[in-house]
Amino acid sequence: MSPELRAELERAADSAPLTGRDLAPAAWTAARSAARRHRLVAAASVVVLAGTGWAVSTRLDQPPATRPAVTPTQTAIDVLPDSIKGGFQIEYAVPPAQQAALAPLPADLNPELPARIGFDASASIRRISGVGPVNTTAVAVLLRRVSGGYHPVVLLSRGPGQPLDDAARYLELDSVLLRPFGVDTPDPYVALGPRVIAPDGHRLAFVQPGEVVGIDLRVGTVVRTPLPVSDAAAGGWTSGGRWFLAWSASGQWRLDPLAQVVQPVAETVYDGAGRIHPVSSGSGANLVTFGADGAALDQRELPPWLGDTSGDTVTSGAGWSATGTFLSADAQAELSGAWQGLVAAPVSGMPRLLVAAADGPVKGCCTALGWAAPTVVLYSSAVAGPSSPTGPVTRRLLAWEVTSGRQWFVADLPSGMLPNGDADERVGAALPLVSLAQRP
Protein backbone atom coordinates (compact mmCIF):
# COMPACT_ATOMS: atom_id res chain seq x y z
CA MET A 1 0.00 0.00 0.00
CA SER A 2 1.26 3.45 -0.78
CA PRO A 3 0.08 6.18 1.56
CA GLU A 4 1.25 8.76 -0.93
CA LEU A 5 -0.80 7.44 -3.85
CA ARG A 6 -3.79 7.07 -1.61
CA ALA A 7 -3.31 10.58 -0.25
CA GLU A 8 -3.04 12.03 -3.74
CA LEU A 9 -6.22 10.31 -4.87
CA GLU A 10 -8.14 11.35 -1.78
CA ARG A 11 -6.89 14.91 -2.09
CA ALA A 12 -8.17 15.03 -5.67
CA ALA A 13 -11.52 13.64 -4.59
CA ASP A 14 -11.74 16.17 -1.78
CA SER A 15 -11.28 19.08 -4.17
CA ALA A 16 -13.53 17.71 -6.93
CA PRO A 17 -16.69 19.76 -7.62
CA LEU A 18 -19.00 17.01 -6.41
CA THR A 19 -22.67 17.78 -6.24
CA GLY A 20 -24.26 18.77 -2.97
CA ARG A 21 -27.67 17.91 -4.35
CA ASP A 22 -29.66 15.38 -2.37
CA LEU A 23 -29.81 12.36 -4.68
CA ALA A 24 -31.96 10.15 -2.48
CA PRO A 25 -35.50 11.40 -3.23
CA ALA A 26 -35.02 11.26 -7.00
CA ALA A 27 -33.59 7.73 -6.77
CA TRP A 28 -36.48 6.58 -4.63
CA THR A 29 -39.08 8.06 -6.98
CA ALA A 30 -37.37 6.60 -10.04
CA ALA A 31 -37.31 3.17 -8.40
CA ARG A 32 -41.01 3.41 -7.59
CA SER A 33 -41.78 4.36 -11.20
CA ALA A 34 -39.76 1.41 -12.45
CA ALA A 35 -41.56 -0.95 -10.07
CA ARG A 36 -44.92 0.43 -11.18
CA ARG A 37 -44.04 -0.16 -14.82
CA HIS A 38 -42.89 -3.66 -13.96
CA ARG A 39 -46.27 -4.41 -12.40
CA LEU A 40 -48.11 -2.90 -15.36
CA VAL A 41 -46.10 -4.95 -17.82
CA ALA A 42 -46.69 -8.09 -15.78
CA ALA A 43 -50.44 -7.44 -15.65
CA ALA A 44 -50.55 -6.68 -19.34
CA SER A 45 -48.74 -9.91 -20.10
CA VAL A 46 -51.43 -11.86 -18.28
CA VAL A 47 -54.13 -10.11 -20.25
CA VAL A 48 -52.38 -10.79 -23.52
CA LEU A 49 -51.92 -14.45 -22.71
CA ALA A 50 -55.56 -14.79 -21.73
CA GLY A 51 -56.98 -12.96 -24.72
CA THR A 52 -54.54 -13.12 -27.56
CA GLY A 53 -57.23 -13.59 -30.19
CA TRP A 54 -59.04 -10.43 -29.10
CA ALA A 55 -55.85 -8.46 -28.96
CA VAL A 56 -54.80 -9.48 -32.43
CA SER A 57 -58.17 -8.70 -33.89
CA THR A 58 -58.42 -5.22 -32.39
CA ARG A 59 -54.94 -3.88 -31.84
CA LEU A 60 -54.67 -2.28 -35.28
CA ASP A 61 -57.54 -0.05 -34.36
CA GLN A 62 -56.07 1.03 -31.07
CA PRO A 63 -53.94 4.14 -30.63
CA PRO A 64 -50.38 3.48 -29.58
CA ALA A 65 -49.84 3.14 -25.89
CA THR A 66 -48.97 6.39 -24.23
CA ARG A 67 -47.26 7.03 -20.97
CA PRO A 68 -49.28 8.24 -18.03
CA ALA A 69 -49.75 11.97 -18.15
CA VAL A 70 -47.78 14.09 -15.77
CA THR A 71 -50.08 15.60 -13.20
CA PRO A 72 -49.58 19.33 -12.76
CA THR A 73 -49.64 20.89 -9.36
CA GLN A 74 -49.91 24.43 -8.15
CA THR A 75 -46.21 24.48 -7.51
CA ALA A 76 -43.44 23.48 -9.89
CA ILE A 77 -44.11 20.14 -11.50
CA ASP A 78 -41.50 17.61 -10.54
CA VAL A 79 -40.81 15.08 -13.23
CA LEU A 80 -38.20 13.11 -11.41
CA PRO A 81 -35.94 10.73 -13.27
CA ASP A 82 -38.33 8.25 -14.75
CA SER A 83 -35.94 5.81 -16.28
CA ILE A 84 -32.66 5.46 -18.01
CA LYS A 85 -32.90 4.05 -21.48
CA GLY A 86 -30.70 4.04 -24.51
CA GLY A 87 -27.98 5.88 -22.63
CA PHE A 88 -30.31 8.78 -21.77
CA GLN A 89 -32.05 9.80 -18.64
CA ILE A 90 -35.60 9.96 -19.94
CA GLU A 91 -38.14 12.52 -18.84
CA TYR A 92 -41.52 13.35 -20.31
CA ALA A 93 -42.71 16.78 -21.33
CA VAL A 94 -45.91 17.98 -19.77
CA PRO A 95 -48.76 17.17 -22.20
CA PRO A 96 -49.92 20.14 -24.30
CA ALA A 97 -53.28 20.40 -22.52
CA GLN A 98 -51.50 20.84 -19.20
CA GLN A 99 -48.83 23.33 -20.22
CA ALA A 100 -50.90 26.31 -19.17
CA ALA A 101 -51.26 24.81 -15.69
CA LEU A 102 -47.53 24.69 -15.13
CA ALA A 103 -46.21 26.85 -12.34
CA PRO A 104 -44.43 29.99 -13.54
CA LEU A 105 -40.66 30.01 -13.67
CA PRO A 106 -39.44 31.39 -10.32
CA ALA A 107 -38.53 35.04 -10.47
CA ASP A 108 -34.93 34.43 -9.49
CA LEU A 109 -34.52 32.25 -12.59
CA ASN A 110 -36.54 34.34 -15.03
CA PRO A 111 -34.35 36.54 -17.25
CA GLU A 112 -36.88 39.38 -17.08
CA LEU A 113 -39.31 37.80 -19.52
CA PRO A 114 -42.98 38.81 -19.22
CA ALA A 115 -45.76 36.24 -19.21
CA ARG A 116 -46.61 37.16 -22.77
CA ILE A 117 -43.94 37.90 -25.36
CA GLY A 118 -45.22 39.63 -28.48
CA PHE A 119 -47.59 42.37 -29.51
CA ASP A 120 -50.68 42.92 -31.60
CA ALA A 121 -50.61 44.48 -35.03
CA SER A 122 -52.20 47.63 -33.64
CA ALA A 123 -49.80 47.98 -30.71
CA SER A 124 -48.04 51.31 -30.36
CA ILE A 125 -44.41 50.56 -29.69
CA ARG A 126 -41.65 53.00 -28.79
CA ARG A 127 -39.28 53.62 -31.68
CA ILE A 128 -35.56 54.16 -31.46
CA SER A 129 -35.86 57.11 -33.82
CA GLY A 130 -37.84 58.84 -31.09
CA VAL A 131 -36.09 57.47 -28.03
CA GLY A 132 -32.45 57.49 -29.08
CA PRO A 133 -29.70 55.24 -27.70
CA VAL A 134 -30.49 53.08 -24.68
CA ASN A 135 -28.18 51.78 -21.98
CA THR A 136 -30.23 48.82 -20.88
CA THR A 137 -29.59 45.42 -22.38
CA ALA A 138 -31.71 43.43 -24.78
CA VAL A 139 -33.54 40.46 -23.30
CA ALA A 140 -35.14 39.26 -26.52
CA VAL A 141 -35.56 40.23 -30.15
CA LEU A 142 -38.72 39.82 -32.20
CA LEU A 143 -39.58 40.83 -35.73
CA ARG A 144 -42.46 43.09 -36.72
CA ARG A 145 -43.89 42.94 -40.19
CA VAL A 146 -43.71 46.30 -41.98
CA SER A 147 -44.09 47.37 -45.55
CA GLY A 148 -41.21 45.89 -47.55
CA GLY A 149 -39.80 43.66 -44.81
CA TYR A 150 -39.42 43.57 -41.03
CA HIS A 151 -38.25 45.76 -38.20
CA PRO A 152 -36.39 44.23 -35.27
CA VAL A 153 -38.20 44.86 -32.01
CA VAL A 154 -36.07 44.61 -28.88
CA LEU A 155 -37.49 43.65 -25.51
CA LEU A 156 -35.34 45.63 -23.08
CA SER A 157 -34.39 44.69 -19.55
CA ARG A 158 -35.84 46.62 -16.63
CA GLY A 159 -32.86 48.88 -16.21
CA PRO A 160 -32.63 52.16 -14.29
CA GLY A 161 -34.74 54.84 -15.88
CA GLN A 162 -36.61 52.36 -18.00
CA PRO A 163 -40.38 51.93 -17.78
CA LEU A 164 -41.67 49.11 -15.61
CA ASP A 165 -44.66 48.53 -17.84
CA ASP A 166 -43.93 45.43 -19.92
CA ALA A 167 -45.58 46.92 -23.01
CA ALA A 168 -43.26 49.92 -22.82
CA ARG A 169 -40.20 47.70 -22.73
CA TYR A 170 -40.45 46.99 -26.47
CA LEU A 171 -38.30 49.18 -28.69
CA GLU A 172 -38.79 49.06 -32.44
CA LEU A 173 -35.62 49.64 -34.43
CA ASP A 174 -37.46 51.50 -37.13
CA SER A 175 -34.28 52.57 -38.91
CA VAL A 176 -33.37 48.93 -39.65
CA LEU A 177 -35.33 47.26 -42.42
CA LEU A 178 -34.66 43.55 -42.61
CA ARG A 179 -35.40 41.77 -45.86
CA PRO A 180 -36.42 38.12 -46.09
CA PHE A 181 -34.44 35.50 -47.93
CA GLY A 182 -35.94 33.46 -50.75
CA VAL A 183 -38.46 36.07 -51.86
CA ASP A 184 -38.66 34.36 -55.24
CA THR A 185 -39.62 31.06 -53.62
CA PRO A 186 -42.94 29.94 -52.11
CA ASP A 187 -41.35 29.95 -48.66
CA PRO A 188 -39.40 33.13 -47.88
CA TYR A 189 -37.80 33.29 -44.44
CA VAL A 190 -35.91 35.59 -42.11
CA ALA A 191 -32.68 34.62 -40.41
CA LEU A 192 -33.24 35.01 -36.69
CA GLY A 193 -31.02 32.55 -34.88
CA PRO A 194 -30.56 32.29 -31.12
CA ARG A 195 -27.51 34.50 -31.05
CA VAL A 196 -28.41 37.78 -32.73
CA ILE A 197 -27.86 39.45 -29.34
CA ALA A 198 -24.20 39.65 -28.36
CA PRO A 199 -23.28 38.37 -24.89
CA ASP A 200 -22.98 41.97 -23.64
CA GLY A 201 -26.67 42.51 -24.45
CA HIS A 202 -25.97 45.83 -26.17
CA ARG A 203 -24.97 44.75 -29.68
CA LEU A 204 -27.16 43.04 -32.24
CA ALA A 205 -26.37 41.66 -35.68
CA PHE A 206 -28.54 40.20 -38.43
CA VAL A 207 -27.49 38.29 -41.53
CA GLN A 208 -29.08 39.85 -44.58
CA PRO A 209 -28.84 39.10 -48.29
CA GLY A 210 -25.26 40.13 -49.15
CA GLU A 211 -24.44 41.79 -45.84
CA VAL A 212 -24.50 41.72 -42.05
CA VAL A 213 -26.29 44.52 -40.24
CA GLY A 214 -24.74 45.41 -36.88
CA ILE A 215 -26.45 47.58 -34.28
CA ASP A 216 -25.11 49.09 -31.05
CA LEU A 217 -28.01 50.08 -28.84
CA ARG A 218 -25.82 52.22 -26.57
CA VAL A 219 -24.84 54.64 -29.31
CA GLY A 220 -27.64 53.98 -31.74
CA THR A 221 -25.36 53.11 -34.64
CA VAL A 222 -26.27 50.83 -37.51
CA VAL A 223 -23.34 49.44 -39.53
CA ARG A 224 -23.76 47.41 -42.71
CA THR A 225 -20.86 45.10 -43.56
CA PRO A 226 -20.90 43.63 -47.08
CA LEU A 227 -20.31 39.90 -47.54
CA PRO A 228 -18.68 38.49 -50.66
CA VAL A 229 -21.74 36.33 -51.38
CA SER A 230 -25.45 36.99 -51.40
CA ASP A 231 -26.62 33.69 -50.00
CA ALA A 232 -25.20 33.83 -46.45
CA ALA A 233 -28.34 33.20 -44.44
CA ALA A 234 -27.26 32.13 -40.98
CA GLY A 235 -25.11 33.65 -38.30
CA GLY A 236 -24.63 34.52 -34.70
CA TRP A 237 -22.28 35.95 -32.09
CA THR A 238 -19.59 33.65 -30.74
CA SER A 239 -19.71 32.83 -27.05
CA GLY A 240 -16.87 35.24 -26.33
CA GLY A 241 -18.78 38.09 -27.96
CA ARG A 242 -15.79 39.30 -29.95
CA TRP A 243 -16.89 37.90 -33.30
CA PHE A 244 -19.98 37.30 -35.34
CA LEU A 245 -19.99 34.29 -37.66
CA ALA A 246 -21.93 34.10 -40.91
CA TRP A 247 -22.47 31.09 -43.16
CA SER A 248 -23.53 30.44 -46.70
CA ALA A 249 -23.58 27.30 -48.78
CA SER A 250 -20.23 28.27 -50.24
CA GLY A 251 -18.32 29.70 -47.30
CA GLN A 252 -18.15 31.13 -43.82
CA TRP A 253 -16.86 34.38 -42.38
CA ARG A 254 -15.79 35.81 -39.07
CA LEU A 255 -16.82 39.45 -38.66
CA ASP A 256 -16.69 42.37 -36.32
CA PRO A 257 -19.96 43.76 -37.62
CA LEU A 258 -19.55 47.15 -35.99
CA ALA A 259 -16.01 47.67 -37.32
CA GLN A 260 -16.66 46.27 -40.79
CA VAL A 261 -13.99 43.60 -40.39
CA VAL A 262 -14.56 40.43 -42.43
CA GLN A 263 -12.32 37.35 -42.48
CA PRO A 264 -13.00 34.15 -44.40
CA VAL A 265 -12.80 31.08 -42.17
CA ALA A 266 -11.66 27.68 -43.35
CA GLU A 267 -11.86 25.62 -40.17
CA THR A 268 -15.00 24.29 -38.46
CA VAL A 269 -16.65 27.08 -36.51
CA TYR A 270 -19.95 27.65 -34.72
CA ASP A 271 -21.46 30.63 -33.00
CA GLY A 272 -22.45 28.73 -29.85
CA ALA A 273 -20.22 27.05 -27.30
CA GLY A 274 -21.64 23.66 -28.26
CA ARG A 275 -23.47 22.09 -31.16
CA ILE A 276 -25.44 18.86 -31.26
CA HIS A 277 -25.77 17.61 -34.78
CA PRO A 278 -26.63 14.26 -36.35
CA VAL A 279 -23.91 12.02 -37.67
CA SER A 280 -23.66 11.88 -41.43
CA SER A 281 -24.73 8.25 -41.70
CA GLY A 282 -27.10 6.17 -39.61
CA SER A 283 -28.64 7.39 -36.40
CA GLY A 284 -26.94 9.20 -33.58
CA ALA A 285 -25.46 12.60 -32.99
CA ASN A 286 -22.29 14.25 -31.83
CA LEU A 287 -21.77 17.10 -29.43
CA VAL A 288 -19.02 19.38 -30.65
CA THR A 289 -17.71 22.05 -28.32
CA PHE A 290 -16.39 25.41 -29.51
CA GLY A 291 -14.20 28.06 -28.00
CA ALA A 292 -14.92 31.71 -27.37
CA ASP A 293 -13.83 32.57 -30.92
CA GLY A 294 -16.02 29.87 -32.45
CA ALA A 295 -13.26 27.37 -33.24
CA ALA A 296 -14.00 23.68 -32.61
CA LEU A 297 -12.37 22.22 -29.52
CA ASP A 298 -13.59 18.71 -29.03
CA GLN A 299 -16.27 16.20 -29.88
CA ARG A 300 -18.17 13.51 -28.02
CA GLU A 301 -20.48 10.89 -29.41
CA LEU A 302 -23.99 10.81 -28.01
CA PRO A 303 -26.02 7.61 -27.71
CA PRO A 304 -27.59 6.52 -31.01
CA TRP A 305 -31.23 7.31 -30.27
CA LEU A 306 -31.06 10.77 -31.82
CA GLY A 307 -32.05 11.52 -35.40
CA ASP A 308 -32.11 14.91 -37.06
CA THR A 309 -31.99 17.96 -34.89
CA SER A 310 -34.56 20.73 -34.94
CA GLY A 311 -33.27 24.28 -34.61
CA ASP A 312 -29.96 25.51 -33.27
CA THR A 313 -28.09 24.36 -30.21
CA VAL A 314 -27.83 26.62 -27.17
CA THR A 315 -25.22 26.06 -24.47
CA SER A 316 -25.21 27.13 -20.84
CA GLY A 317 -22.34 28.47 -18.81
CA ALA A 318 -22.08 25.07 -17.15
CA GLY A 319 -21.47 23.37 -20.49
CA TRP A 320 -24.92 21.87 -21.07
CA SER A 321 -26.02 21.98 -24.71
CA ALA A 322 -29.63 21.58 -25.81
CA THR A 323 -31.50 21.35 -29.07
CA GLY A 324 -34.72 19.99 -30.51
CA THR A 325 -34.41 16.46 -31.81
CA PHE A 326 -36.24 13.75 -33.67
CA LEU A 327 -35.92 10.22 -32.36
CA SER A 328 -34.67 7.13 -34.14
CA ALA A 329 -36.91 4.18 -34.89
CA ASP A 330 -35.33 2.24 -32.02
CA ALA A 331 -36.10 5.05 -29.63
CA GLN A 332 -39.68 5.32 -30.84
CA ALA A 333 -40.18 1.61 -30.26
CA GLU A 334 -38.92 1.97 -26.69
CA LEU A 335 -40.85 5.16 -25.99
CA SER A 336 -44.38 4.13 -26.99
CA GLY A 337 -44.26 5.88 -30.33
CA ALA A 338 -42.96 9.24 -29.13
CA TRP A 339 -40.89 10.64 -31.95
CA GLN A 340 -39.45 14.01 -31.00
CA GLY A 341 -38.40 16.12 -28.06
CA LEU A 342 -35.53 18.06 -26.63
CA VAL A 343 -32.07 16.71 -25.85
CA ALA A 344 -29.68 18.23 -23.33
CA ALA A 345 -26.13 16.96 -23.09
CA PRO A 346 -23.29 17.93 -20.80
CA VAL A 347 -19.78 17.93 -22.15
CA SER A 348 -19.23 14.92 -19.94
CA GLY A 349 -21.86 12.68 -18.41
CA MET A 350 -25.24 11.25 -19.21
CA PRO A 351 -27.43 13.24 -21.64
CA ARG A 352 -31.07 13.93 -20.85
CA LEU A 353 -34.02 13.51 -23.18
CA LEU A 354 -37.30 15.38 -22.71
CA VAL A 355 -39.79 13.36 -24.71
CA ALA A 356 -42.70 15.23 -26.27
CA ALA A 357 -46.16 13.69 -26.43
CA ALA A 358 -46.75 11.68 -29.58
CA ASP A 359 -49.88 13.66 -30.45
CA GLY A 360 -50.41 17.40 -30.29
CA PRO A 361 -47.00 18.95 -30.76
CA VAL A 362 -46.27 19.88 -34.37
CA LYS A 363 -43.27 18.51 -36.23
CA GLY A 364 -40.20 20.21 -34.84
CA CYS A 365 -42.20 21.12 -31.77
CA CYS A 366 -39.35 21.85 -29.44
CA THR A 367 -36.79 24.54 -30.15
CA ALA A 368 -34.12 25.38 -27.60
CA LEU A 369 -33.83 29.16 -27.26
CA GLY A 370 -31.51 29.77 -24.33
CA TRP A 371 -30.70 29.02 -20.71
CA ALA A 372 -32.22 30.73 -17.70
CA ALA A 373 -29.65 29.15 -15.38
CA PRO A 374 -26.73 26.73 -15.83
CA THR A 375 -29.11 23.75 -15.88
CA VAL A 376 -32.46 25.36 -16.81
CA VAL A 377 -33.09 25.48 -20.54
CA LEU A 378 -35.74 27.69 -22.15
CA TYR A 379 -37.49 26.20 -25.14
CA SER A 380 -40.33 26.97 -27.48
CA SER A 381 -43.13 24.41 -27.56
CA ALA A 382 -45.39 24.48 -30.62
CA VAL A 383 -48.74 22.69 -30.47
CA ALA A 384 -51.40 22.41 -33.16
CA GLY A 385 -54.76 23.87 -32.30
CA PRO A 386 -57.54 21.56 -31.19
CA SER A 387 -59.82 22.48 -34.08
CA SER A 388 -57.55 21.44 -36.90
CA PRO A 389 -54.22 19.70 -37.20
CA THR A 390 -53.24 22.30 -39.78
CA GLY A 391 -54.74 25.25 -37.94
CA PRO A 392 -53.14 27.90 -35.79
CA VAL A 393 -50.16 26.86 -33.74
CA THR A 394 -49.95 27.71 -30.06
CA ARG A 395 -46.43 28.54 -29.01
CA ARG A 396 -45.26 28.73 -25.44
CA LEU A 397 -41.92 29.35 -23.84
CA LEU A 398 -41.31 26.62 -21.27
CA ALA A 399 -38.41 25.83 -18.96
CA TRP A 400 -36.87 22.46 -18.13
CA GLU A 401 -34.38 21.86 -15.34
CA VAL A 402 -32.29 19.15 -16.92
CA THR A 403 -30.92 17.55 -13.75
CA SER A 404 -34.10 17.34 -11.67
CA GLY A 405 -36.66 17.27 -14.49
CA ARG A 406 -38.70 20.21 -13.15
CA GLN A 407 -40.73 22.04 -15.76
CA TRP A 408 -42.20 25.52 -15.69
CA PHE A 409 -44.25 27.88 -17.79
CA VAL A 410 -42.41 31.02 -18.83
CA ALA A 411 -44.43 32.92 -21.42
CA ASP A 412 -46.88 32.80 -24.27
CA LEU A 413 -45.13 33.42 -27.59
CA PRO A 414 -46.51 34.93 -30.79
CA SER A 415 -48.76 32.37 -32.41
CA GLY A 416 -48.50 31.39 -36.04
CA MET A 417 -49.50 28.84 -38.59
CA LEU A 418 -47.80 25.59 -39.36
CA PRO A 419 -44.59 25.74 -41.34
CA ASN A 420 -45.45 26.40 -44.97
CA GLY A 421 -48.90 27.51 -43.92
CA ASP A 422 -50.32 30.98 -44.06
CA ALA A 423 -48.33 33.23 -41.78
CA ASP A 424 -49.88 36.23 -40.12
CA GLU A 425 -49.55 38.76 -42.91
CA ARG A 426 -50.87 41.75 -41.06
CA VAL A 427 -48.53 44.71 -41.11
CA GLY A 428 -47.44 45.48 -37.57
CA ALA A 429 -47.85 41.95 -36.28
CA ALA A 430 -45.09 40.02 -34.56
CA LEU A 431 -43.66 37.04 -36.41
CA PRO A 432 -43.66 33.76 -34.48
CA LEU A 433 -39.89 34.02 -34.13
CA VAL A 434 -38.08 35.02 -30.97
CA SER A 435 -34.37 35.21 -30.18
CA LEU A 436 -33.42 35.34 -26.51
CA ALA A 437 -30.31 36.85 -24.98
CA GLN A 438 -27.84 34.10 -24.08
CA ARG A 439 -26.84 34.18 -20.44
CA PRO A 440 -23.15 33.63 -19.84
Binding site: S2, R11, T19, L23, A31, G349
Partner: protein, 178 residues
Protein backbone atom coordinates in the same frame (compact mmCIF):
# COMPACT_ATOMS: atom_id res chain seq x y z
CA UNK B 1 -43.93 -12.39 -4.61
CA UNK B 2 -44.83 -8.88 -3.61
CA UNK B 3 -42.66 -6.51 -5.63
CA UNK B 4 -44.18 -3.38 -4.20
CA UNK B 5 -41.78 -0.89 -2.84
CA UNK B 6 -41.93 0.11 0.72
CA UNK B 7 -44.19 2.76 2.24
CA UNK B 8 -43.22 6.02 3.77
CA UNK B 9 -41.10 4.79 6.69
CA UNK B 10 -38.83 2.89 4.31
CA UNK B 11 -38.48 6.04 2.27
CA UNK B 12 -37.31 7.85 5.38
CA UNK B 13 -34.85 5.06 6.20
CA UNK B 14 -33.56 5.07 2.66
CA UNK B 15 -33.08 8.83 2.44
CA UNK B 16 -31.44 8.98 5.86
CA UNK B 17 -29.07 6.20 4.90
CA UNK B 18 -28.20 7.72 1.54
CA UNK B 19 -27.70 11.19 2.95
CA UNK B 20 -25.30 9.88 5.56
CA UNK B 21 -23.11 8.26 2.90
CA UNK B 22 -23.67 10.22 -0.27
CA UNK B 23 -20.50 12.24 0.01
CA UNK B 24 -18.33 9.15 0.52
CA UNK B 25 -19.98 7.36 -2.37
CA UNK B 26 -19.53 10.36 -4.62
CA UNK B 27 -15.84 10.44 -3.81
CA UNK B 28 -15.55 6.77 -4.73
CA UNK B 29 -17.59 7.31 -7.89
CA UNK B 30 -15.40 10.27 -8.79
CA UNK B 31 -12.27 8.12 -8.61
CA UNK B 32 -13.99 5.40 -10.61
CA UNK B 33 -15.06 7.82 -13.35
CA UNK B 34 -12.33 10.42 -13.21
CA UNK B 35 -14.73 13.35 -13.29
CA UNK B 36 -17.52 14.80 -11.20
CA UNK B 37 -20.40 14.80 -13.68
CA UNK B 38 -20.05 11.14 -14.55
CA UNK B 39 -19.66 10.36 -10.89
CA UNK B 40 -23.06 11.84 -10.13
CA UNK B 41 -24.65 9.88 -12.98
CA UNK B 42 -23.00 6.66 -11.85
CA UNK B 43 -24.17 7.12 -8.28
CA UNK B 44 -27.67 8.14 -9.32
CA UNK B 45 -28.13 4.94 -11.30
CA UNK B 46 -26.74 2.87 -8.45
CA UNK B 47 -29.08 4.55 -5.97
CA UNK B 48 -32.09 3.68 -8.10
CA UNK B 49 -31.02 0.05 -7.99
CA UNK B 50 -30.51 0.23 -4.26
CA UNK B 51 -33.95 1.76 -3.79
CA UNK B 52 -35.59 -0.97 -5.83
CA UNK B 53 -34.16 -3.63 -3.51
CA UNK B 54 -34.17 -1.63 -0.32
CA UNK B 55 -36.50 -3.91 1.60
CA UNK B 56 -34.29 -6.88 0.86
CA UNK B 57 -30.87 -5.32 1.43
CA UNK B 58 -31.54 -2.74 4.11
CA UNK B 59 -30.57 -5.18 6.86
CA UNK B 60 -27.84 -6.87 4.85
CA UNK B 61 -24.96 -4.46 4.36
CA UNK B 62 -26.57 -1.96 1.99
CA UNK B 63 -23.33 0.03 1.85
CA UNK B 64 -21.49 -2.95 0.42
CA UNK B 65 -24.37 -3.59 -1.97
CA UNK B 66 -24.24 -0.03 -3.26
CA UNK B 67 -20.49 -0.08 -3.67
CA UNK B 68 -20.66 -3.34 -5.58
CA UNK B 69 -23.08 -1.69 -8.00
CA UNK B 70 -20.75 1.28 -8.37
CA UNK B 71 -17.79 -0.91 -9.22
CA UNK B 72 -19.63 -3.13 -11.64
CA UNK B 73 -21.54 -0.35 -13.38
CA UNK B 74 -18.39 1.69 -13.75
CA UNK B 75 -16.89 -0.99 -15.97
CA UNK B 76 -20.06 -2.23 -17.65
CA UNK B 77 -20.44 -2.16 -21.39
CA UNK B 78 -22.95 0.65 -21.72
CA UNK B 79 -20.85 2.99 -19.66
CA UNK B 80 -17.81 2.13 -21.69
CA UNK B 81 -19.72 2.94 -24.87
CA UNK B 82 -20.93 6.25 -23.57
CA UNK B 83 -17.59 7.31 -22.25
CA UNK B 84 -16.15 10.19 -24.15
CA UNK B 85 -12.65 11.41 -24.41
CA UNK B 86 -11.54 13.88 -21.84
CA UNK B 87 -11.31 17.33 -23.26
CA UNK B 88 -10.01 20.76 -22.72
CA UNK B 89 -13.51 21.93 -23.48
CA UNK B 90 -14.91 20.25 -20.42
CA UNK B 91 -12.29 21.84 -18.28
CA UNK B 92 -13.00 25.20 -19.85
CA UNK B 93 -16.69 24.79 -19.09
CA UNK B 94 -16.07 24.52 -15.39
CA UNK B 95 -16.28 27.61 -13.19
CA UNK B 96 -13.11 29.64 -13.22
CA UNK B 97 -11.34 29.04 -9.90
CA UNK B 98 -10.02 31.83 -7.74
CA UNK B 99 -6.33 32.42 -7.57
CA UNK B 100 -6.05 30.57 -4.25
CA UNK B 101 -7.81 27.56 -5.68
CA UNK B 102 -5.62 27.29 -8.73
CA UNK B 103 -2.98 25.06 -7.18
CA UNK B 104 -5.54 22.60 -5.85
CA UNK B 105 -7.40 22.56 -9.14
CA UNK B 106 -4.13 21.95 -10.98
CA UNK B 107 -3.38 19.01 -8.73
CA UNK B 108 -6.84 17.59 -9.24
CA UNK B 109 -6.60 17.92 -13.00
CA UNK B 110 -3.26 16.09 -12.94
CA UNK B 111 -4.89 13.23 -11.08
CA UNK B 112 -7.91 13.27 -13.40
CA UNK B 113 -5.64 13.06 -16.43
CA UNK B 114 -3.78 10.18 -14.84
CA UNK B 115 -7.03 8.36 -14.07
CA UNK B 116 -8.25 9.00 -17.61
CA UNK B 117 -5.29 7.01 -18.91
CA UNK B 118 -6.61 3.91 -17.13
CA UNK B 119 -9.38 1.63 -18.29
CA UNK B 120 -12.54 1.57 -16.16
CA UNK B 121 -11.51 -1.81 -14.77
CA UNK B 122 -8.05 -0.55 -13.88
CA UNK B 123 -9.56 2.46 -12.10
CA UNK B 124 -11.85 0.18 -10.16
CA UNK B 125 -8.89 -1.96 -9.11
CA UNK B 126 -6.89 1.05 -7.97
CA UNK B 127 -9.80 2.22 -5.82
CA UNK B 128 -10.45 -1.22 -4.40
CA UNK B 129 -6.82 -1.99 -3.65
CA UNK B 130 -5.43 1.36 -2.61
CA UNK B 131 -8.40 3.32 -1.26
CA UNK B 132 -10.49 0.57 0.25
CA UNK B 133 -7.59 -1.75 1.09
CA UNK B 134 -9.29 -4.78 -0.39
CA UNK B 135 -7.32 -7.94 -0.97
CA UNK B 136 -6.75 -9.22 -4.47
CA UNK B 137 -9.24 -12.01 -3.85
CA UNK B 138 -11.90 -9.60 -2.60
CA UNK B 139 -11.33 -7.33 -5.56
CA UNK B 140 -11.61 -10.27 -7.92
CA UNK B 141 -14.90 -11.36 -6.38
CA UNK B 142 -16.34 -7.87 -6.48
CA UNK B 143 -15.51 -7.35 -10.12
CA UNK B 144 -16.22 -10.89 -11.22
CA UNK B 145 -12.71 -11.51 -12.55
CA UNK B 146 -9.90 -13.87 -11.66
CA UNK B 147 -7.16 -13.08 -9.18
CA UNK B 148 -4.73 -13.30 -12.05
CA UNK B 149 -6.58 -10.55 -13.85
CA UNK B 150 -6.49 -8.45 -10.73
CA UNK B 151 -2.75 -8.86 -10.48
CA UNK B 152 -1.99 -8.14 -14.09
CA UNK B 153 -4.38 -5.20 -14.44
CA UNK B 154 -3.28 -3.65 -11.17
CA UNK B 155 0.30 -3.89 -12.33
CA UNK B 156 -0.55 -2.15 -15.61
CA UNK B 157 -2.60 0.50 -13.82
CA UNK B 158 0.22 1.35 -11.44
CA UNK B 159 2.68 1.56 -14.30
CA UNK B 160 0.43 4.09 -16.00
CA UNK B 161 -0.04 6.10 -12.83
CA UNK B 162 3.69 6.09 -12.20
CA UNK B 163 4.27 7.54 -15.64
CA UNK B 164 1.49 10.13 -15.35
CA UNK B 165 2.29 11.19 -11.78
CA UNK B 166 6.08 11.26 -11.59
CA UNK B 167 6.13 13.00 -8.23
CA UNK B 168 3.97 10.45 -6.51
CA UNK B 169 5.19 7.37 -4.72
CA UNK B 170 3.28 4.70 -6.60
CA UNK B 171 3.75 1.23 -5.10
CA UNK B 172 5.21 -1.72 -6.91
CA UNK B 173 2.91 -4.72 -6.87
CA UNK B 174 4.61 -7.86 -5.67
CA UNK B 175 2.14 -10.09 -7.37
CA UNK B 176 1.34 -12.09 -4.25
CA UNK B 177 -1.70 -12.15 -1.99
CA UNK B 178 -1.81 -9.21 0.40
Amino acid sequence: MDTRLAPRDDFADFTDFVRSRQRAWLRTAYLLCGNATEAEDLLQVALVKLARHWQRVRRDQPDAYLRRILYRDSISAWRARSRERRSLARLAAQPVPTHDEMAEVGHRLDVERALAALTPKQRALVVLRFIEDRTEREAAELLGVTVGTVKSQTHVALEKLRAALPGVDVPVVSGGER
